[in-house]
Amino acid sequence: MPEPATGVALNTVEVRFTGGMLALNRLLMTLQNKRMPVAGFTLGRDGEGMRATITLDCPPEQALRYTAIISALEDVTEAGPAQTVEVALLETAADWRTAAEMAGIEAHEDDGTVVATGEPEKVDDFLASLGDGIDDMVRLGPVARPEGEAGGGV
């Protein structure tokens, strides 16, 4: 039986690996074989090889154990916790700088559009504090970034 989804603790794990499709196959098989509660899986490739961002829906200590399993795979060069951040693009006449500072997120203006980046809950707070002052808005959904990586626009 897979472990039941908790729905309350999303832990993001950033995995870098080499070995192409075989390695990806092994990673996916491990997720399935160990019944990891995968809530999200994003795959990408850059100059250092392949990168998977896995969101696990389980308590943090379980996520650490799953990360150890993933880390033990020979193809995996790096596996560790990542921060989940969300980007919101909005047009507003309100004081978004003060609101961003109070919510603890990063925000800047780009060609008339405010780009707000931060943990999803904090982005929620930021948007709520602007209330009816938002003229238009798009939320891009949560993405992962390795913990400790410098902040800034995504």
Partner: protein, 528 residues
């Protein structure tokens, strides 16, 4: 073909088993008994698929194995070619790692890397799939890339805390698993037990990690472990678990397992910590290094001074089992067979068991005083394992007596290997406990399915005539015959002999904790 064409030019001893599954188990038996990497080879397609059970068996019990499979040539890959199969994909869930060698220049470093992966950290099986045209290609020793992973460090704040817990516990137990023998930590285990005076229990695969005849050894717990050992765990206030993974056959109902105990869990695989039982202290480290370090924190303890009252209590609790054992040792049956083998084979005996009732009887009634002298398939519970695994043991230790104990179900699953055993003149003695049933399943049917013996009665050949057909000698032994004489006769014969012991069809293994239950639901005897 290219591999076998080149083979005679190299100083490798090749053993042609009659089935690839047996090759994997034989390599497994060699690895378990020696601590070295076992190697098996199979051809592509069905040869490769036949290895699957052997690889899964090795993976479940952390056995270092390298399996080399042939593959169709690179141009034929992905075209449903003759004897093409995706053995890599098929074995992904139960290999530690696998390689498809597509560049001949990668062959040499891949081989070396495979051996290092197989034996490093938590050992396991590694598969190397080599296309035919790569086998034909010329290549040189062109270097070796070292593994990226270093062993986990032993510097852990948990070590000192563990030492404190060991000092203060009133009813502690050491629970030692296969990781102790895999890590060559038998001496450290013994030193730790003797320094602290803490009694030792082992898992099924941990048997022989600690001498059975040592006064601190209690036995092994679990579904068919000794009742007194299960109760000792239930009463303990500290469980020092090393090189084991809290298998469900040990814990039963996890929430009731060692419910009053603090748990120290040491394992080389960090993902094992907290997987089943949440430890008070979890240490991801090699068993040998961790126990050495803990011993360093216990320098000031006088040997064996701790928990004397606890040891006395445990000794008293084991008395009824000792008396029961004494009372049945002269009755014809499985226990008498075990006693007779134990009594005649000498201290160098290496015992290889299959899976089922006999496996439990053997583990209960033998005394293992030598590391790696008890070989069995634990995690996967692979019937058919014992006979081929014993071949690996016999090749590793040609001068030691090697006994196989199997049931009449499991022995038929790889019986063809009698031909290999005969060909190589291996000195393997086989004792089959023949009850005409798949005995363990029948026992479950008796207890939990109202004796509906659905598809468990089995027939088999006349083993005396079968072994004669293979050019070997065998005997049938029934109630009224002398078990000791039969065992003695087998020991006196040159090479492999086969004893077919006809036993009570409804003999049961006791005690038994039903699956998913606790020590409180333990069944200790017929009608209980």
């Amino acid at each position: 073909m290219p591999f076998y064409d080149a083979l005679p030019d190299y100083p490798l001893r090749h053993v042609l088993t009659r089935h690839e599954q047996a090759a994997a188990h034989a390599a497994d038996g060699y690895a378990r008994s020696t601590g070295r990497v076992g190697v098996c080879v199979a051809t592509s397609g069905p040869g490769a698929t036949n290895l699957v059970t052997g690889l899964a068996t090795a993976q479940m019990d952390s056995v270092p194995l390298v399996a080399i499979t042939g593959q169709v040539g690179r141009p034929a890959l992905g075209k449903d070619s003759f004897q093409e199969t995706n053995v890599m994909g098929m074995t992904l869930p139960f290999t530690k790692h696998s390689f498809l060698v597509e560049d001949p220049n990668e062959l040499y470093p891949t081989m070396r890397r495979a051996f290092e992966i197989a034996r490093s950290g938590r050992p396991g099986p590694v598969l190397i799939d080599v296309p035919k045209d790569v086998q034909f290609a010329a290549t040189n020793d062109n270097g070796y890339r070292r593994l990226k992973k270093a062993p986990p460090p032993v510097e852990s704040p948990g070590l000192e805390r563990t030492a404190m817990l060991l000092r203060s516990a009133k009813r502690p137990l050491i629970l030692a698993g296969h990781g102790v023998t895999l890590g060559g930590a038998e001496m450290e285990l013994r030193l730790l037990a003797e320094r602290t005076g803490i009694p030792v229990v082992t898992t099924l695969l941990g048997i022989s990690a600690f001498p059975d005849d040592h006064p601190l050894y209690l036995g092994w717990p679990g579904m068919h472990g000794q009742a007194s050992v299960n109760r000792a765990i239930d009463r303990s206030d500290l469980l020092f678990a090393v090189g084991m993974r809290f298998d469900d056959r040990i814990t039963g109902a996890v929430h009731k397992f060692a419910k009053d105990a603090k748990v120290v869990h040491i394992d080389i695989d960090p993902s094992e910590l907290g997987k089943v039982v949440k430890p008070t202290v979890g240490i991801a480290a090699d068993a040998k290094a961790a126990m050495r370090s803990i011993l360093g924190h216990l320098d000031d303890i006088s040997e064996g001074e701790g928990c004397e009252q606890w040891r006395e209590e445990l000794a008293t609790s084991q008395e009824p089992e000792r008396r029961r054992k004494e009372s049945v040792r002269d009755e014809y049956g499985p226990i008498q067979v075990m006693e007779a083998i134990k009594g005649t084979a000498g201290p160098n005996l290496r015992l290889v068991t299959d899976v089922g009732q006999h496996q439990m009887w053997a583990a209960q009634f033998f005394e293992f005083t030598k590391a790696n002298s008890h070989i069995t398939s634990g995690g996967l519970g692979t019937m058919g394992f014992a006979l081929p695994a014993a071949m690996g043991v016999a090749f590793a230790y040609p001068d030691d007596p090697v006994w196989v104990i199997a049931g009449d179900g499991g022995i038929q699953m790889n019986i063809q290997e009698l031909a290999t055993i005969r060909e190589f003149g291996l000195n393997i003695k086989v004792a089959v406990l023949n009850n005409g049933y798949l005995g363990m399943v029948r026992q479950w049917q008796q207890f939990f399915h109202n004796r509906r013996y659905s598809e468990t009665p089995i027939t088999g050949p006349d083993y005396e005539r079968l072994t004669a057909a293979y050019g070997l000698s065998g005997r049938t032994v029934r109630e009224g015959d002398s078990v000791v004489d039969a065992i003695r006769w087998a020991n006196e014969q040159e090479g492999c002999t086969f004893l077919d012991f006809h036993i009570d069809p409804e003999a049961n293994v006791y005690p038994m904790i039903p699956s998913g239950m606790s020590v409180n639901e333990m069944i200790e005897e017929d009608g209980a």
